[in-house]
């Protein structure tokens, strides 16, 4: 393809990103804002694709646009009155509204300042390290990493510590969600059309999660994308009126949520016991160990995201498959 056409595509992407961002921020209707944000996420995923970063594009589409959108929509659904009362009576309280405007400006200026500092730091970092050094180091050691996808090699091998800590952050988030109280109200049972869609969409999503997990070793994919896809299956089930949202029974749920961190620590500590550094996989075993950790991480990520969608502690009685079957 010639460069002018690509340049035009890039310009179009940048233009739609900026206008979607402005539109999402400018609208006073929270629901509209969320939907625009989801469209923004999808265009952003295309932009990542154009930047030759398919891993980020997949994550952005699945988590940034899809699941965050579902979470935000659920939050808007929960608080329709509060979101509307802000602008339905403008000037209702002058002092209050001028304070609000001042606060908005303060937040905006703070954001601009933070963005400026970050941009400055990024520019400084790019100046200091020639950007090929890290990529070169990764590709030099790729053969010993157990996988052939450099992104997975970095996430699960070279910088496995970071991923372990990320999973620990997710586990902490689960504790926060559990502390929020009981789950949100469920949805009413779906009609025949949506039920029909769910009937084949959920198996396809589960299959796709397995594919993304497996393919992560040598192509874009991996635990996070697979977990988000699996969580999407749970969200779809929940929307169709299944109270359990595909979550396992209570006892198993505890294990599932902690599975990523537990598996990481188990592998790391066993390696320590065998006299290797923590998470320093022997090259011959690296591929299998990474797959093991990623499988556990996928389940933990999916359960965490579904719990976030439920917005609280699920009722124990809803997590029982056989009971639910009987009710249907």
């Amino acid at each position: 393809m010639n460069t002018t056409a690509l340049l035009a595509l890039d310009a179009l992407l940048v233009f739609s990103l900026l206008s979607l961002a402005v539109a999402a921020l400018a609208t006073h209707d929270a629901r509209r804002s969320v939907i625009l944000f989801m469209a923004f996420g999808l265009v952003l995923a295309v932009a990542w694709g154009r930047l030759m970063a398919p891993d980020v594009a997949l994550a952005e589409a699945a988590i940034g646009a899809g699941l965050s959108g579902a979470l935000l929509l659920a939050a808007v659904h929960e608080q329709p009155r509060r979101a509307l009362s802000g602008d339905s009576r403008p000037g209702h309280n002058r002092a209050h509204s001028s304070f609000k405007v001042a606060l908005e400006w303060a937040v905006t200026l703070l954001c601009v300042a933070v963005a400026g500092v970050l941009a400055w730091a990024l520019a400084a970092a790019f100046d200091r390290t020639p950007k090929d050094v890290l990529a070169q180091a990764v590709s030099d050691n790729l053969a010993a990493s157990g996988v052939s996808n450099p992104v997975t090699a970095v996430l699960l091998n070279f910088r496995a510590y970071d991923t372990l800590l990320e999973l620990a952050v997710l586990l902490t988030a689960v504790l926060g969600i559990m502390a929020m109280g009981p789950e949100r109200r469920g949805y009413r049972a779906a009609g025949p059309v949506f039920d029909g869609l769910v009937g084949w969409l959920v198996p396809v999503l589960i299959l796709m999660a397995g594919y993304l997990l497996w393919v992560g070793a040598h192509a874009p994919g991996g635990a996070f994308q697979a977990g988000a896809t699996l969580a999407a299956a749970g969200v779809v089930l929940r929307l169709a009126g299944q109270r359990s949202a595909g979550l396992p029974p209570w006892r198993l749920l505890h294990l599932t949520v902690a599975a990523g961190v537990v598996m990481f620590l188990a592998v790391g500590l066993s390696l320590l016991a065998l006299g290797r550094p923590f998470l320093g996989y022997p090259p011959a075993w690296a591929g299998a160990l990474i797959l093991l950790i990623e499988t556990a991480a996928m389940l933990a990520i999916a359960a965490t995201l579904v719990l976030a969608f439920l917005g609280g502690r699920p009722a124990e009685s809803h997590l029982n498959f056989s009971k639910e079957k009987r009710q249907c």
């Binding site: 059309v193 949506f194 396809v204």
Partner: protein, 94 residues
């Protein structure tokens, strides 16, 4: 030959997209807008995937493209139905 056919499919698909977008902007009520959007876009995407599949290097890629089209068909049909049902319920209840 294949190039010409593929271009024809793609241009025709874009035509459907254009028609669907104009319909979305111009048609008077939600039901007809949904109708314009989902019908025209499904056909447009079908033609687009057909045009791209002709260019695919391997059969597997062509099959994946068709799979994407089928998934979008099902999703857009179901979501159009859900949106229409939601609006209908709200109209009849108020």
């Amino acid at each position: 030959m294949i190039d010409a056919l593929s271009s024809l499919f793609i241009v025709a698909g874009l035509g459907f997209y254009l028609a669907g977008s104009i319909g979305l902007l111009r048609l008077p009520d939600l039901y007809s807008r949904l109708h314009a959007l989902t019908k025209a876009d499904n056909l447009g995407l079908g033609l687009l995937t057909a045009g791209l599949a002709l260019h695919a290097q391997e059969l597997l890629i062509a099959l994946k493209l068709i799979l994407i089209w089928l998934a979008v068909l099902a999703a857009s049909a179901a979501s159009a139905h859900l949106i229409a049902q939601h609006v209908r319920r709200r109209e009849t209840s108020s």
